[in-house]
Point group: C2
Chain length 428, copies 2
């Protein structure tokens, strides 16, 4: 059996309006759904993913064939292609979200007023979340699961490349919701490749969309950030820095820098610029740079760095602002922690930055003054991840200042309300 | 001495761009300013307000005279007019904010990962806050103080009616900043009555504005919510409900209803609709309605309420959606807590709603299912206030779902970052 594409409706605006209205109605049900019911749905969704693995693979094969005919890059084909192992990982991911604590209803603060009233601040879902993503069909399951567990309805707008795969995965999620007695409209997949659907989501679907999460390349994120009339949880760049201070232990600096740059070069927490304190440039700079070069990393340095190792290319001004997402690093000598902080303020992207030092004062200054979502002392920037933070899973990392900052997990997909309990109090 | 109006620059866009850039630069200084310095500035600001009281009153007299010539309403003239007592209250307000704990740097969560890294979530300022307000000159001081204490720079855009008064008050605030060695650009007042300035603020001042707080009538709030390209902390309506359940003690219901409606009718937490459980309509409805009528409150009821008291006028469908902000209430009989929750869901504004009942189950159901920023059990809706919540002071009340919800005090004017401390950890 192949998964049929749903008939395109001619009036895309009407389609999207209906999706928004149904999502809002489903959100009310989800917000009040007990944990057990949401967990039952996640179990049933994982089961359905496994049961329908063959359908999903068949749909994916059609997507992959089309992408190949269209001359897709190897990287895109790798992101797009599902295997039995990847389908099992998707099902296991649903079970991992099931195992996370339910954020809804948790009391984050509680106090009693002098008049005897108690006030609680309690987590409640945000409402309806829109996820716009590209060519990774597994986002359908991951994002659906995180929104469901956090009590939100979600509208998924997958990439054209992975359209059939996402439709097939979505069918399994809908089956799971249905089995658990939750509304299928809690997780809706936009049933068209028409790009107009994205524009309508960015406009907010008549107030039925509370937040948008873009997952994909910079082009997508930039468009969403520029055009969205609703809040966005996203980061455009992860231009992360490792600053090696004069009081840094060289062995620790090497270990952290190597991990921060080379563990995975394509993740947003990968280091893109190395800053080395001039006071230890003579002893630390060459070994750090040589280590990277010998691991196959291109180094683009300022004049000092080029002098330290002849293999270093000249950095352009633009390199300081660039998220390479590749085995390339920019490198610069700075006059201590103050110049490092200033450089990061000028060129950074408020994502994740680290200092390596044994000097507690320098560390505290860096942690206080670098204005990024995540600042680290003596640890790798690649810890910028919801799982590594203990959030269990994340829908993305945000560099905005409002509501969610850093890894966006279940708790960040919630807002709160105040519950006040009195015994007849009136205001004087 | 009268306060001179600053010369209008012909290029309002250039003026506003400069204000935005200077605010962003000042925000970096403010974010790192120690508590003592901010407190010194608040002290000096209060002192300067008192010292320059005569100048402020003279400027205010010019504003009032102009407003009178333009035929302003008595209500507007009352909001606009300053007296020595009101100036003293303004200075005392600055001292009250000084006495509040500094939110910046407070650690709200802290945990240790299995690999030994500690992660702290610490409050940091939002950045640059825009406040757009109408005809209440004291907002200049109140908003300036709250933003300063929370480490934010602020751009104040006061109403045309109170322009000279606000300029005079702002001069005193600038003097205070200066005395304490903080940048005057931390609190800037838009030096023109040109309405184009508002449009430029709503567009975000080239990314130099992080959030906008509108303070004023519904026309202003609606425009800001519709046009702002940056986040907004606001509420458009405070259509608050008091639901009197079948298990409500009549004496308590009377006390709470009277306070919720009549303590002050013009505040956003004032009750606008009374819902009474049909099961106690025979015993509770008439006494509740009669109490309000006898206090001079107009009651607009459904057929049941009209039958209960002949003085009740017929409610129109629109009355259920109306924030009267006056001695008027809509009243309706409902079939228990479920219909009360449904009515509030249909007609409410997600601001503040209360249930009066001795039935714990009904109370918990109401508190869980009413989707408002503040839900109360056996207490007056007029507690919807930052001061009453123990926040000390508020810049407004928000009904949006993102970041700040309910009273917006010092903590809500902050975001956070994650501080990670390691001993050389790298990610596997």
């Amino acid at each position: 059996m192949t998964v049929p594409l749903k008939a395109m409706e001619t009036d895309i605006a009407a389609t999207m309006r209906g999706i928004g209205q149904r999502a809002r109605a489903a959100a009310r049900v989800l917000a009040l759904a007990p944990t057990t019911k949401k967990n039952d749905a996640l179990d049933a969704m994982a089961k359905a993913i496994r049961t329908h693995a063959r359908n999903i693979l068949a749909a994916n094969a059609e997507d992959v064939a089309e992408a190949e005919r269209a001359g897709a890059t190897a990287a895109l084909l790798d992101r797009l292609t599902l295997t039995e192992a990847r389908i099992e990982a998707m099902a296991a991911g649903l079970e991992a979200v099931r195992a996370l604590p339910d954020p809804v209803g948790s009391v984050t603060e509680c106090w009693t007023r002098p008049n005897g009233m108690t006030i609680e601040r309690v987590r409640v879902p945000l409402g309806v979340i829109g996820v716009i993503y590209e060519s990774r069909p597994n986002v359908t399951a991951d994002a659906g699961a995180l929104c469901l567990k956090s009590g939100n309805a979600v509208i998924l707008r997958g990439g054209s490349d992975s359209f059939r795969s996402s439709v097939a995965i979505h069918a399994a999620l809908a089956e799971g919701l249905n089995t658990a007695g939750l509304p299928e409209d809690a997780i809706q997949f936009v049933p068209t490749r028409d790009r107009a659907a994205v524009g309508l989501m960015l406009a907010g679907l008549d107030g039925h969309l509370d937040v948008i999460v873009p997952r994909g390349g910079k082009g997508l994120v930039a468009r969403v950030q520029a055009e969205a009339r609703v809040p966005v949880f996203a980061h455009l760049d992860g231009n992360c820095h490792v600053y090696v201070d004069k009081a840094a232990d060289l062995a620790m600096a090497k270990a952290i820098l190597f991990n921060a740059k080379m563990r995975r070069t394509g993740v947003c927490g990968a280091a893109e610029t190395l800053l080395v304190d001039r006071a230890v440039a003579a002893t630390h700079l060459q070994p750090l740079v040589a280590m990277l070069l010998e691991a196959g990393c291109e180094v683009r340095g300022d004049a000092d760095t080029q002098r330290a190792d002849a293999r270093v290319k000249a950095a352009s001004e633009e390199d300081w602002n660039t998220e390479f997402l590749d085995a390339i690093i920019a490198a610069k000598v700075v006059d201590g922690v103050d110049e490092a902080i200033a450089h990061i303020g000028r060129h950074g992207s408020h994502h994740t930055d680290a200092i390596v030092t044994a000097d507690q004062n320098a560390a505290e200054k860096f942690l206080a003054e670098v204005d990024s979502a995540i600042v680290l002392h003596n640890a790798s920037t690649q810890f910028a991840d919801g799982g590594e933070f203990g959030f269990g899973a994340e829908i993305g990392i945000a560099t905005g200042r409002m509501h969610a900052r850093g890894p966006v997990g279940l708790e960040q997909l919630c807002t709160f309300k105040y519950r006040v309990r009195g015994t007849g109090q009136t205001r004087p």
